[in-house]
């Protein structure tokens, strides 16, 4: 696999898995406005994943859907940070803040790439990420003196960019995420 395809998959997997995890708050976020906002962010992340998979799929002679849903959990290249199931809001926000920081740095590097396709897509994604960052920053400002939030930041920080292996939680998410696709009712093609 080319270095470019590997890099694209790494980012796409991060965005897809985080999008799924964030979407677990849909309908149960702390209040209605936040439910709408956070669900929208989750949807954006999945959208970014799709664009990145499409670019990688061209290099690899496959399709975005196959890359997103037909690989084994062990083949995903996402970081442990996004794999965690976090049913606590303060930990979710801590992950959101840590992820957006790391993602901003990564996008800056990609935007400076000589590869016009990569830098173009990074610029496009970054224009949406600006609002994710604003959202993360305002929550950070609000929670930064709350002990549970501070604890969560310290707990999750070491997982940013940790990509050697996976947490057991990824397998359960993968089951859920790919179940419809794997079910393939008779007479259908995806």
């Amino acid at each position: 696999m080319s270095e470019r395809a590997q890099l694209l998959l790494e980012i796409a997997d991060d965005e897809l898995i985080l999008g799924w995890r964030d979407s677990e708050w849909t309908g149960i976020a702390p209040f209605l406005e936040e439910d709408v906002a956070f669900s929208s962010i989750a949807q954006n992340e999945v959208g970014h994943a799709r664009a990145l998979y499409e670019l990688a799929a061209r290099d690899l002679g496959t399709t975005a859907d196959e890359l997103a849903f037909d690989r084994e959990p062990s083949e995903y290249r996402c970081s442990e940070l996004v794999e965690l199931r976090l049913p606590e809001w303060e930990r979710t926000i801590a992950r959101h803040v840590l992820y957006e920081q790391a993602d901003a740095e990564r996008l800056e590097q990609l935007k400076a790439s000589n590869d016009a396709e990569v830098s173009g897509l990074a610029a496009k994604i970054d224009r949406e990420e600006i609002y994710h960052r604003l959202h993360a920053e305002m929550w950070h400002e609000r929670l930064k003196n709350e002990p549970r939030y501070v604890e969560a930041l310290a707990e999750l920080q070491p997982l940013v960019g940790k990509r050697n292996g996976h947490l057991p939680e990824l397998a359960a998410l993968w089951e859920e995420m790919t179940s419809v696709r794997r079910s393939q009712p008779a007479g259908t093609t995806w």
Partner: protein
Amino acid sequence: MIYEVFRQERKGQAFQHAGSVEAADERFAESYAREQYGRRGESVALWVVARDSIMRIEEFVDELNRNYHRVDGYPLKEKLKEARERAGTTAPRDR
């Protein structure tokens, strides 16, 4: 805090009340207003204002029943029709 949101659908059009968002402060209000009233390209601009900042006027005193100030009670339709007949013209839509 409740913030009222007004949206403009196209440039040059009047802003219309879109709804309200509940938010802890102005930054949250901006973010929530964007998500709820701007993300689908349905607005070119939003006004977001704290409900408390809106001056509310609900009482309109008319103690002496000066209904000649009002525009109702003067049906023009019949009078116009008669005038047109006298002048031998028709209503604009019939021309």
